[in-house]
Each structure stands twice: as C-alpha cells, then as structure tokens.
C-alpha cells in the first residue's frame, strides 16, 4: 500500500507516494525525476547509486525511501551552486579529465565529497581507500585520484562558496 512521505533532497522538500519496498535510488530517479543518481549493480558493490544522507555516503539501491523521512539527502544535482557554478570537486573532475563515460561519476563525486569533508587533505592511499566502494569500468582511477587530491587542495585553500 502506498503512503505519502516527505523527502528532503538538495534542500527541497518533495512529497512522494511510496510503498515500503521502494528503494531510494528508484524513488529519486523515477518519482522525483533526478536522474543524476545512477543504478549499477543493485547489490551495493559498485557505488554508482551513492548519495549523501546527513553527509554520509550511502548506497541508495540498498536504502528504503520510507526510512529516509526527516533526513537530509544530497544527490549530485545538489552540489551545483544556485548560479550554476560547479562544486570545486566537480570542477576538479572536469579539469583533470576524470570523467570518461560518466556513469560512475555522480557516485564517485559524492563519495569524494564525504571523504574530503572528513579529511580535506587525504594522502593518495587514503583517497584510494576512500573510493574503493566506487567502481569505474573505464578504469580512469588515476585521473580520479588526481582530481580528488586537487579538489582537496582547492577546498582547503579557497573554501567552498
């Protein structure tokens, strides 16, 4: 049976009808219409569906939408500033050629954000460990690691506007 719930996504409140079994990834994509969040393996292995819940990186394919009421959900669409300016992490991915086919990118960037929020100056090893739950099948990891490293530098020197 469907019930109406409120989800706070990117600081906007959405009223959506859901069944208890509806997964957050499907609700974000199909009911809210934010298709930046990707669904890959559906089993929590690939990280493509990563979103931030209260700042923590979470697999939206293994999260019930109904369990997210009252939480603050951030998807890739929520990183862009109101004037359209990319978040420093997004800009670093662009600048370093860290986007190839792009399917892993939203999840990869949100995982990067959670990592940098906790540790703005991670070592290469810490970055590799931090993104180990996000699979890139184009295998562009080297550029991704470089982008995260650069984004960390930018954020710690200039801050996020």
């Amino acid at each position: 049976m469907k019930q109406l719930i409120e989800l706070t996504i990117n600081n906007r409140v959405y009223e959506v009808p859901v069944s208890p079994k509806d997964l957050l990834a499907d609700v974000i994509r199909d009911k809210v219409g934010l298709t930046g969040t990707k669904k890959g393996c559906g089993q929590g292995d690939c990280g493509a569906c990563t979103v931030l819940i209260d700042g923590n990186p979470v697999l939206s394919c293994l999260t019930l939408a109904i369990a997210c009421q009252g939480r603050k959900i951030t998807t890739i669409e929520g990183l862009v500033a109101e004037d359209g300016q990319l978040h420093p992490i997004q800009q670093a991915y662009v600048d370093h050629g860290a986007v190839q086919c792009g399917f892993c990118t939203p999840g990869m960037i949100l995982t990067s954000k959670a990592l940098l929020d906790r540790n703005p100056k991670p070592s290469e090893e810490e970055i590799k460990r931090g993104i180990s739950g996000n699979i890139c099948r184009c295998t562009g990891y080297k550029k991704i690691v470089e982008a995260i490293f650069a984004a960390g530098e930018t954020i710690s020197t200039e801050g996020v506007k």
């Binding site: 069944s19 208890p20 079994k21 997964l23 559906g42 089993q43 929590g44 292995d45 990280g47 990563t50 923590n56 990186p57 979470v58 697999l59 293994l62 999260t63 019930l64 109904i66 369990a67 995982t111 959670a114 990592l115 906790r118 590799k128 460990r129 931090g130 993104i131 180990s132 739950g133 996000n134």
Partner: protein
C-alpha cells in the same frame, strides 16, 4: 532485483521496538544497516512480512566508555562510528582496525556492529576482535535482558542464538588490562571491498617485566563456521618469556587448529598456510605494542 511487499515499522523507543519484535516474531526481520538484509531479500532468500527499522531508537546507538569499567557499544551503532571513535582506537585497537576494513566507506556508513554479528557470516570482520576482547552482548526482549559472551552467540554460518522475540541491543567490552595491546589483520584477494579469506585478532597482556606473556587471546575468522578461539596458542605462550621460537610454535599450532574450507576465495590449504602467517605477524605486533603501553 526487487523486494517483496512488507509492512514497515520505525519504532522510536526500546519499548516500542521490543514490543514489535515480540508481536511479530519470525514473520519480521530487524532492519539495521540493510547491507546484508536487503540483498538477501532481493535475492529472495528471505521474504519477511514485516520490517522493524531500529535506526530511530537512539538508545540502541552510540559508544560510551567509563575508565576502569570498559566500553558499551549500542548494537545499531554504525561501523563508521566505531571506525572513527577515538576511544575505540585508543583502547580497542583491533576493533578499530577491523571496522576500518569492513566493506567500503558506503557500507561502513550503513552497516551496524550488531548486524555484523547477527548476520553471523564466518568471514565477518568485527566479531573476531570483539571475541578477542571477551565482549559480551546484551539480548533484550519484553521480558528483560540477558547477557552472553559473543562467542556463544554466533553459532555457525548465518546462525545466532537469538530466540523468537529477542533483539541484540548492546556490546559490553571489558576494560583492557594494563600492559596489553591488540592487533587485527586479514588476508583477502584484494585490499578493499573483499570478503576475508582469513582474518585474525590477538589481544595480549604482558607481566610488568615487559617480556612475559600474562594472558592472551587469539581468535581466527573465516577458518571455521564461527569465530575460533585458539586454545593451543595461549597454552604455548602464557607464563613464558616471549621469543621467536615460541611464536613459530604458536603460529603452527594456530594453523593446526584452523578448520578451513576450500571455496571461491581460497583453498583450505592456502587458508591454513596464511593462518600461520597472520598469527606470526599479529603476535609480534601485539607484543611490541604491549611493551610500549
């Protein structure tokens, strides 16, 4: 990859949660992190009629520590909170290490320490150090609480000692002994997001001389259906001055006690071999660290 239909409950107090668990019994599953449960549901291994989400019960979450008494960890505490807790890092280092090696950043942000033990995978990370610390668990129900050593709770592959209407609510870790240290490590096919082929934790206490082993627990994971507490290794080292000859003997004894199987991740022969390697390394590391305390 879809879930069956179920009814969803999100209790906010321990009383409400235990009442739901009592009323719904085996038709319900408890949702903690969901990183194992929802996969089992997607694969149609289980199709519960009710899910009881315990994440809104604040009494089931968090880490508290009282000097001289030890730590209490709520069963619904996220693995990432255990990983980043200064007191766990300081007092229960092997648990800090194991929490940091579980799954990915995402899995650690979702999965709970209680779920890791309740799911009772032989390859689970956190039960190994918890058993090495002599952790007890609190099992709650509407009729009250009972305590059990964790090694008596995990009965085998995906089997735990919860009776119908019971919920795992807390882990109680005793205060570490003076001059003691713990270490954890694992061997797997890759560095991250792997399922351990073998994991191990050592918790060692030294006499005041800094050389003699006063007490020792060595626990092996993934080489038996449940965490395997070595009987032979303490027999070899306790009461003796630590030296490389005894370590070698202890490492071989641990390998002899392991009861590994061959599967997709490793052969039994390889697991036995690396059990000795891990034992040798961790005994030395724990000894070196305990001397510094």
């Amino acid at each position: 990859m879809y879930l069956n239909n179920f009814e969803y409950f999100a209790p906010e107090t321990p009383g409400e949660a235990l009442d739901l668990v009592a009323r719904m019994g085996n038709k319900a599953k408890v949702l903690a992190g969901g990183t194992d449960l929802l996969i089992m549901m997607k694969e149609k291994m289980i199709q519960p009629e009710y899910l009881i989400d315990i994440n809104n019960v604040k009494e089931f979450k968090g880490i508290s520590y009282e000097p001289g008494k030890g730590a209490v960890i709520g069963a619904a505490t996220k693995i990432s909170e255990v990983e980043h807790s200064p007191v766990i890092r300081d007092k229960y280092f092997a648990l800090h290490q194991a929490a940091g090696e579980l799954g990915s950043a995402q899995v650690r942000a979702m999965a709970t320490i209680g779920g890791n033990s309740c799911h009772a995978s032989p390859a689970a990370e956190t039960p190994t150090p918890l058993v090495a610390f002599g952790a007890k668990i609190v099992i709650s129900s509407v009729s009250g609480d009972r305590e059990l050593p964790l090694e008596e709770f995990i009965l085998g592959n995906r089997k735990n000692a919860l009776a119908e209407g019971e919920l795992l609510t807390q882990f109680i870790l005793p205060e570490p002994a003076p001059k003691s240290a713990s270490r954890y490590w694992y061997i797997g096919l890759r560095d991250a997001m792997e399922i351990d082929a073998v994991n191990m934790a050592v918790n060692m206490v030294l006499e005041n001389d800094g050389r003699t082993v006063k007490d020792l627990r060595l626990v092996m994971g993934s080489v038996s259906p449940r965490p395997l507490v070595s009987v032979e290794v303490p027999g070899i080292l306790v009461g003796k001055e630590f030296n490389s000859e005894l370590v070698e003997k202890a490492a071989q004894a641990a390998a002899g006690e392991a009861k590994p199987i061959s599967d997709i991740r490793a052969s039994a022969e390889y697991r036995r071999e690396v059990t000795a390697v891990l034992a040798r390394r961790l005994l030395q590391q724990a000894f070196d660290a305990a001397r510094e305390v």
